[in-house]
Amino acid sequence: MTWLSSFALASAGLIAAAANFIFIKPRATYGAPSRFLIGKPEDFPSGTRISLDAHRVCVVRDGNKLAAISTTCTHLGCIVGVADTGFACPCHGSRYDQDGNVTGGPAPKALPWYQVTLAPNGELQIDTNVQINSGTYYNV
């Protein structure tokens, strides 16, 4: 009897704890959407390196090749600044080259590249949920 009651109590506790964790893990988030439009390809002439800080992404265009590189530092989530040599993080001094590969500091991995597509209305669309290999460009 004691054994049964303790078992019942313990399982009730475990289920309650698990239920709490399920409860506090949000199913929908209200933050910035992962897919967004950034404008027409013409807005980004060749040679552009524009950092869209609100979206935490840097749009790079060289000739017909266009790419979106994350500007969220892979070290601790600060926004990296665009520098002559590539990217530099103000928080802990991580440095990246033009393609986002780590060249110095504590960052553990390269800045991810995001998928760029053309939306039906002719604007470029970036999806930060889809990471692609570095050096994979979208051809305008």
């Binding site: 933050g31 609100a54 070290h75 103000p90 928080c91 504590p106 553990p108």
Partner: protein
């Protein structure tokens, strides 16, 4: 008419069951029958009252927590945990709320003070060997209290919703994300989203004003209760021995210790019936019934005046700090421009300095191992002796190790605070 005249007196007597004590019995009853005083023992050892032994650090931490709860509840009347309103409410505290700046200053400086004093308290307990048997469990509770205090500061840091808040929490939760296996989930649960935003602000608010204070209160209650049950504050064995002249004059003891140590049981007359006082059974040869001469004095008024002194001192220091120094408030959050350098509060700058070498080892690995060692202290260092003395000779090795770690951590804090400039590059403050 007579009844009417005596009415105030009747009410007074119904609340306070005893007049101010003038006898030993009265002094015991004062501690026993008052709700707020019954947490105290009736008598305390003289050694416990030595100001240079405890430095009053544990009490100070507790009183700082009381100030924090008091000012915190008042601040809650004007605060809204919303990304669009929080910062404006900070400005309102400065501009329109009566005593707003003052209360915020008190809250901020008490919070910083509490982190520092709790750390000092921990150092005191370690350096006097006070975590040894039977106080092992209370040391563990104490380490828990230290961690909850840090987490309370951390969650409070986001609430002003200024630049410092936003980027310190971005960095802090990213550190949590480096924890193995569950790191990403912890980060997501803390933030309620992928980045710091409205969800994170609400979550940190709930943790800061409800969950963590409740946990802290519970742990404090256990911590205090265990002090009593473990036989009062730690002290050297000599502190329980009678001064020679007293011991010589008493002859065989008539009183029985409530829970005698084995040695005393052997020498006590066997036929005598053991009596158990209302104090209950407490470990150690401390609580006694009857008028056994010993090294203890009545808590009322000896302990209470000491506590009152620490309380007044704590409040006075916080009032002066709050009058002289303004709690910083930076620019409102700009999610596209981290300040350069983005620095956490001073007590996390040691961590941030470590993190600038390696995110995993600096943010998770080394602190994790340090906390684990802290928790296991009483079980790693099992050599008895050296309890109740600052820097006891018998405890040379553990004390040296502890001081080395403490100084290393403080050095990292100093380097992170003073010697790091833009891009976390080494700068000289001179």
């Amino acid at each position: 008419m007579k009844t009417l005249l005596e009415f105030p007196r009747t009410v007074w007597d119904s609340v306070f069951r005893h007049p101010l004590p003038d006898s030993d019995l009265g002094r015991s009853q004062t501690s026993f029958t008052n709700f707020f005083l019954h947490i105290h023992p009736v008598k305390v050892n003289r050694h416990t009252l030595k100001p240079l032994y405890t430095l009053g650090l544990g009490l100070m931490s507790f009183f700082l927590f009381v100030i924090l709860v008091f000012t915190g509840i008042l601040l809650m009347f004007y605060y809204v945990p919303s990304t669009t309103q929080a910062y404006d409410r900070m400005l309102d505290l400065r501009g329109t709320v009566a005593f707003g700046t003052f209360l915020r200053n008190m809250h901020r400086w008490s919070a910083h003070g509490m982190v520092a004093i709790v750390a000092f308290h921990m150092a005191r307990v370690f350096l006097t060997g006070s975590y040894k048997k039977p106080r092992e469990f209370n040391w563990i509770i104490g380490v828990g209290l230290f961690l909850v205090t840090l987490f309370l500061s951390f969650t409070g840091y986001l609430l002003p919703w200024d630049q410092l808040a936003y980027w310190a929490i971005t960095v802090g939760t990213s550190i949590a994300g480096y924890a193995p296996v569950i790191g990403k989930d912890i980060k997501f649960l803390l933030l309620g989203d992928n980045t710091v935003g409205q969800e994170a602000l609400l979550r940190f608010y709930v943790l800061h004003v409800a969950v963590l204070p409740a946990v802290l209160t519970l742990l404090i209650a256990i911590h205090f209760w265990r002090i009593r049950k473990d036989g009062g504050l730690s002290r050297p064995p000599e502190a329980d021995e009678l001064p020679l002249r007293l011991a010589a004059s008493t002859g065989p003891s008539m009183a029985i210790t409530v829970n005698a140590t084995p040695m005393q049981l052997d020498t006590a007359p066997k036929k005598e019936k053991r009596q158990f006082g209302l104090m209950g059974i407490v470990r150690g040869p401390f609580t006694k019934t009857g008028n056994t001469p010993d090294n203890s004095v009545y808590s009322w008024p000896n302990l209470l005046t000491a506590e009152l002194f620490v309380f007044i001192l704590t409040v006075a220091i916080i009032l002066v700090l709050a009058l002289c120094f303004q709690a910083p408030l930076e620019e409102p959050v700009n999610i596209s421009h981290p300040p350069n350098p983005a620095k956490a509060p001073w007590y996390f700058l040691g961590l941030q300095e470590l993190v600038s070498y390696s995110a995993f080892w600096g943010g998770v690995g080394i602190p994790g191992i340090e906390v684990l060692i802290l928790f296991l202290c009483p079980f790693l260092d099992r050599k008895p002796g050296g309890v109740g003395k600052w820097f006891a000779k018998e405890r040379m090795l553990p004390n040296t190790l502890f001081m080395t770690f403490a100084i290393l951590n403080v050095m990292f804090v100093i380097v992170g605070t003073v010697f790091r400039g833009p891009n976390w590059e080494f700068v000289s403050p001179w």
